[in-house]
Symmetry: C2
């Protein structure tokens, strides 16, 4: 009878109010009902991106938002610099390699934070970089990058160089300020902190990026962002949008405003701190140092057998789903998502389950230890 | 208290069983639960496309399926022939013009059927056409094209020339047989006869098309269909899919099998016949001749004032939404959708409302006339 707990870094649980909104019944996407919906959504979503500029909404996966940012902002034969620190940096690389771009990669060891001085030297050594691409939070490693410092570096390198940030697993779970952080384009998907099923992609651009996009000659149609911004002027979309997901999005944004956006961000930080304290108390090594730890996802290490046992026992005995590592972190880490419709009590629930699993598996008494550490992290 | 009736040619009403399935709660898209779902879906969806080949599922609008069919099957500098008979043929044209293709357009007056002999001469006059693109049903005009005859013509022209069919507003509402109709690629979206919210696009390809796609060098990433077919081998998707819509799709396919696919197609034909008989009885001129009339959408003409009055009165007094014309048919026609979760009784409902509206508007007695004609069309 007990509901299962989905603590993966996407898809994430859907609030019942949002499920309800998505079940309201179909409306025509050229109707005045839909236009009002889009108008509401547009005014409430911008603060999550930290911008006054319009946020385009595409019907597609987050990956298409990454591609959209690239194919609209970079012309054929131009040079891009991509920070690759995990599976999603890798995806930026794969996208770039699919197009006739000059691709420069700045590699960061998976799980480590970015060394800003080293990156500065690397950037300075490259000529004519038109755009720098980075994750805000690399979902596959649970690392956050120093976006504000990176933005400044990019603009010091050249005012003409765009700074493009993948906000998947970050937007909605941590604060952004596109202007202060010198972000020209910020993208995300619906299925992470935004508490929706997958199927919507979001692209926010400042005027500099918009201008670059409108002049870009690279062949594209569905991912031509100009079409979406043009349609937004009439609170519309260029192609039939995922109506039910947008009905849900409107409700999501109401929930944000009800709790207060700043309080939502604080809740994410609190969950991170609880989890990190609790995992340490369980003698589990955290993959990421405190300074780079994400407010939305936490990764911990152990040997492959123990990780496999933990993941299975959580699922089968406790009804809790968490995620494994991706690519070369497969079998080396587990990841707990703590974004969107997740709360401090859920962190206590997963830590309590881990206490039980590890007490038995290691024949060592952990009862109360992780919970105490998490309570202290939350209340002190 | 009375529920509203959405009779537009997309989005269409969602069956309550499907809404329920879409509310089941989020599952991870790399979980075994999702893999089973995809396996189920794959085995049930192929008959709707009339194929034994895999049907790729993209998270995106129907337009992206049109683009996907083109950018995967046609190389830069190659020649395409597009049949343009309405707004969606126009969309194929716009997509083609966005890429470095040699574009030939065969225009059919909007609302008219395609003259197969004339088309044959046109095709014969063009050199090296690599692919011919056509709608099965042009949603904007309610015309169906003679797909079987077109397919034969294309293959007579050259075995190397692919025949690509836009099945939006047709797949799920009328019978296809990709082999018998010589269709190499058939695409559609989720929000028409498939009774789902918008957000999924479907691409079926035979081996000839698959081979062409795998050799195609045109730069693309999200719309690279090879990635989707590769992932399907593991019952998976290359990027995070619209999980809730796929949960709904599984239920849709159960409903098809429950009613029986052939019976669903018969129901669509019956609704068309009822509506056409009823509209004629109301002295409303049908846009399309019987021979080309779509089983999923019906368009009728009148003067602009009367059309505007009908549309408003249906919505405001009867809670029934139908659609206007698009582009240069705007103000010249109205369109009634009759696909997916729509039934003969809904045709009676809209005809009864039209009887009432026109009896008053024209000061002429229509009561029972359209209903009688529709009943006869259904039962005789």
């Amino acid at each position: 009878m007990e509901p299962k707990l989905l603590l993966t870094p996407g898809p994430t649980p859907i609030p019942p109010q949002v499920t309800h909104a998505m079940s309201a019944g179909m409306i025509g996407h050229r109707s005045s009902d839909f236009t009002s919906l889009m108008e509401n959504v547009q005014s409430s979503i911008r603060p999550l991106f930290g911008t006054d500029h319009p946020v385009a909404i595409l019907t597609s996966s987050g990956t298409s938002a990454l591609e959209t940012s690239m194919v609209n902002l970079v012309e054929p034969e131009e040079a891009v610099l991509i920070i690759v620190s995990g599976a999603f940096g890798d995806r930026f690389r794969s996208i770039a390699k699919s197009y006739p771009y000059e691709v420069h990669i700045y590699e960061v060891p998976w799980g480590e934070g970015l060394d800003i001085e080293d990156f500065k030297d690397f950037l300075a050594s490259k000529q004519n970089i038109k755009a720098v691409f980075s994750q805000a939070c690399e979902t596959s490693t649970a690392v956050v990058h120093p976006i504000n410092a990176l933005g400044k570096l990019v603009k010091d390198y050249s005012e003409e160089t765009l700074f493009v940030v993948d906000g998947v697993s970050a937007v909605g779970g941590m604060k952004f300020d596109m202007k202060a952080d010198a972000i020209d384009c910020l993208v995300t998907g619906s299925q992470k902190a935004l508490m929706l099923p997958p199927g919507l992609a979001f692209v926010a651009m400042n005027n500099t990026a918009r201008k670059r996009a409108s002049n870009n000659k690279l062949p594209r149609f569905y991912l031509d962002i100009n079409k979406y911004f043009d349609a937004l002027e009439d609170h519309s979309t260029p192609f039939t949008p995922a109506v039910s997901l947008i009905q849900g999005l409107d409700q999501v944004l109401s929930l944000y405003n009800e709790e207060g956006i700043e309080k939502v961000f604080d809740r994410h930080l609190a969950m991170r701190n609880m989890l990190r304290a609790g995992l340490k108390a369980l003698d589990l090594e955290l993959l990421v140092e405190d300074a780079y730890a994400s407010p939305t996802v936490t990764a911990f290490k152990s040997d492959e057998n123990e990780l496999s046992h933990i993941k299975d026992a959580l699922k089968n005995k406790h009804g809790i789903t968490i995620a494994g590592g991706q690519k070369h972190l497969k079998g080396r880490i587990l990841r707990i998502g703590h974004m969107g419709y997740m709360f401090p009590k859920d962190m206590l629930t997963v830590l309590a389950a881990l206490e039980a699993i590890l007490s038995k598996h290691r024949n060592k008494q952990y009862y109360g230890k992780a919970l105490a550490a998490a309570q202290e992290a939350y209340y002190e």
